[in-house]
Symmetry: C2
Subunit: 521 residues, 2 copies
């Protein structure tokens, strides 16, 4: 190890003397990173099982590229993001929990909070309605400073319209493909200019920067992929390692077909909404396959790490058609309860796979950073963990004064140990997302080990679940296990305060509403 | 005029002193050119009538972008290319008739003549099997020298494999998108990598240079369009006028669907092969629409001239499904006889439309070069005319020693006069294309005014048609109008000799086989 450090210092000196050659050396020395984030992708929206048994959804969907990644890499079966998108994306950018960074809700309009209200409560005052803004040590900005070529492709959704943070180039990306303030596309169809204008929808959803594709039958997922691969080539041509954040707008609404993938579903008798949804799933997978293949073509697959994940639980409280578990709200997240925006597992549990783009145990860089092929991990993880993890992979240190809530997941690449399973994971969503349903009230939840406590701010209520025995959260143990609940609630309050969390606002008084500790009988 | 010449000389001086500003001036001063050439597009494969009456095909196909061009520009109803592709493309590049440039047949393999043989005759010795090669004053090379940014997009098919001429960048193009030696694509489908490999087809048809699109459901027409528009942006960013030669592989075989355009045809009860063909037609038109729109978006439509045409008559002697004129060989070229490769009108008559991308009579450049909106022209034209025409538009002179057979068509943009209707148009195809059928023997034909004479080298036979009275060439007047035939045959021989034509080779002797003059009774 000390030899390697010494040679790296020598390299630093050499860099000053001979930029070109040194950066070529540096490219070989450091991995490329692809964070492949699918929007609104549920825990069951892939053919790789994420539960401890295969579900009908794993047969329903066909995602051979994710299967390939899972076969050569490690699959995390207890991975989490936030309940909605901007909080997740900001946590990834900063390594911080939403309770700390205060982008606790999705953003777009800097003058209008998109949150709903309960009878009694509104959003926290001064949550970061403007979203993430320049100046913070974002993941791409640190990589950029370290010589990486940083590429944003797809949905950004960090900063509100008109603010610098709406532009990924202000947040550390060298290239911005199709990203801005909006959290969804007007349309997935090039024929519609990726706009909702044709159906009298608002222009605020117009996907920016893909004008060359307008009027042509090219799906947004595909246009984004082509542009992303071209940007990768720019990095390689410059002999720089790259960070590609490929964050597809898919599979977010509007659920529009991705031709030709819906046809096989229709022919199998699947209804129209579900066939369209499945086509978006097939489309992200074909894109991933194209990315992996391009990396191989360019000879860099062996030194490129790929992280596959999602920004929140499956879709929404709306039913999307007849799924393999029947019709009804959130049947598509089964065995999880509810979906995106909810306090339950359907809201936050996401697929997570980490692999080299092409496994090659003999490759020096993979010898330095081995990954167990086909590994399965039960250690719980949360989105902000990716920040220290990627920085570690790239040998980049964040500024000492920057507080980080995530932990380096690297030890988990070789064995299911080295990261505590008892580490508390905090989910702070003090907002009303909008849709009515179970668990969509303002809430904070905490997972420690097998246990999960949820506090709803209105009606003020604690729930407690044992996730291993009851992944569907059907059996509330709050009354039967008061000591466990007390332990989790106390830890939750401590974390919220440590992280400077903001609280829902009592509409009548304007005062913050803190959680009321559970009754100790 | 003299003022304008003087100001241009001053400009030349200025160019040396201040490159950037001067080239911006020069860009405003000179038109951009788009030559939009659709491969194998028949005279009836569009919704704009090319005959003097509307046909069922004009209702069958929907090409609103070509309609728009025809409405703002001039439609040539008696326009010709050669009977197959490489000869046409070479004539366009050189301004010369095929009898002169000797690329009389399509090219690909430099060691194998693709022509068939009759019982008695083979190809001319030393026809340019290697195709067009660097060194000649090609249209793009002259424009390039004059400061144009020159873009090749789509099918090239000029030089045989392994020769410099197979690469458009060796022939005067700054950019080559997808062009090489092959005259067709392995597949139109990105999912198939634009290759025929998936159906065990030869790799020689693999479309080059679109690797970023591989594995994605993006049609070749669309990928080519996106790349072409990006290249246009490069020109504009460099403040250069551009020459865009957008020569789609479509609608050449393989007749594969262009989604989503086939569905409307299927739903209307059109059979599968014809629905697919119609989708390729709709696809080239949507591409043209996207080009026109991009030029508007970039603010250069008013100074961009668009030429829409085809490289030979419709498709082939093969039936392609049930067309609006029923099933059977070449029913799709009705009212013309036969199709691609043939001596009859179906082999060589093509659509031709010339228009500003956006008409604006007040624009200075359009005041200098006005085009009659909705004009219809009956003056016959031939593909090599485009060379002097485009050079004239761009104010570029070809080298004095370079023989040019085409004439400047510019006068026809304002009225159907200024180019002689009695000018002889020569078609020299001393090869057997391959398919059997009427008119597919080695031949030379000559059109003068309303009359057309055809000489078939085997069996040695003259035919004579009056095209206005008999566009379908059903009534051979060779015996009834011997004086007319004598006049045409004599002029044909004179032209062939002037242009240094090569003759079919007698297989037994290796001697050239010249036409035998018609019998004078």
């Amino acid at each position: 190890m000390s030899t390697s450090i010494r040679s790296r210092s020598f390299l630093g000196l050499f860099l000053c003397l001979a930029g070109g050659l040194a950066s070529a050396q540096s490219q070989a020395d450091r991995p490329n990173i692809v964070v492949y984030l699918v929007d609104d992708l549920g825990w069951q929206d892939l053919s790789v099982p994420m539960w401890n048994e295969r579900t009908p959804f794993n047969d329903h969907f066909r995602t051979p590229a994710v299967e390939r990644l899972a076969a050569t890499g490690v699959r995390f079966r207890q991975a989490y993001s936030c309940a909605v998108c901007s909080p997740t994306r900001t946590s990834l950018m900063l390594g911080q929990n939403a309770a700390r960074h205060h982008v606790t809700q999705w953003t777009r309009d800097p003058s209008r909070d998109p949150s709903g209200k309960t009878e009694r409560l509104g959003s926290p005052q001064d949550w970061r309605l403007e979203g993430l803004q320049p100046g913070a040590p974002t993941l791409p900005s640190l990589l950029q400073e370290a010589g990486y070529f940083t590429i944003h492709a797809g949905k950004a959704h960090w900063g509100a319209a008109g603010t610098p943070g709406s532009n990924p180039r202000q947040l550390g990306f060298d290239v911005n493909i199709a990203g801005h303030e909006a959290g969804g596309p007007g349309s997935y169809h090039g024929e519609k200019d990726y706009s909702a204008h044709w159906r009298n929808g608002s222009r605020v959803w117009d996907v920016p920067g893909l004008e060359h594709y307008h009027g042509l039958p090219i799906h947004l997922t595909d246009a984004t992929t082509v542009e992303a691969l071209k940007a990768v080539d720019r990095a390689l041509d410059q002999k720089k390692p790259f960070y590609l954040y490929l964050a597809h707008y898919a599979v977010h609404a509007p659920i529009e077909e991705h031709p030709p993938y819906a046809d096989a579903y229709r022919e199998a008798g699947v209804d129209e909404p579900e066939s369209k949804y499945a086509s978006l799933v097939a489309g992200y997978d074909a894109s991933l396959a194209a990315v992996l293949r391009h990396l191989e073509r360019r000879g860099v697959a062996e030194r490129t790490l790929v992280v596959f994940t999602s920004d929140n639980g499956g879709l929404s409280v709306h039913s999307r058609g007849k799924t393999p578990r029947g019709t009804g709200k959130n049947t598509h997240n089964w065995p999880l309860r509810e979906g995106k925006g909810s306090a339950y597992e359907g809201g936050t549990r996401v697929p997570l796979v980490v692999s080299w783009a092409k496994a090659d145990a003999e490759h020096p860089i993979q010898q330095r950073l081995p990954i167990e092929a086909g590994g399965v991990r039960e250690t719980p993880t949360i989105i902000e963990d990716l920040y220290p993890t990627v920085l570690r992979w790239c040998d980049v240190r964040p500024p000492a004064q920057h507080p980080i809530d995530g932990v380096d997941l690297s030890p988990l690449l070789t064995a299911d140990e080295g990261v505590s399973r008892e580490r508390p994971l905090l989910f702070h969503y003090p907002h009303v997302w909008g849709p009515k349903g179970e668990g969509y009230q303002p809430h904070t939840s905490l997972r420690i080990g097998e246990w999960k406590a949820i506090y709803f701010y209105q009606p003020r209520r604690w729930e407690l679940y044992h996730l291993t025995q009851d992944i569907g959260e059907t059996n509330d143990l709050a009354e039967r296990a008061p000591e466990r609940l007390a332990e989790l609630s106390s830890r939750m309050m401590q974390l919220l305060q440590e992280r400077g969390a903001q609280w829902p606002t009592v509409l009548d008084t304007g005062e913050p509403e803190r959680p009321i500790p559970p009754r100790q009988d």
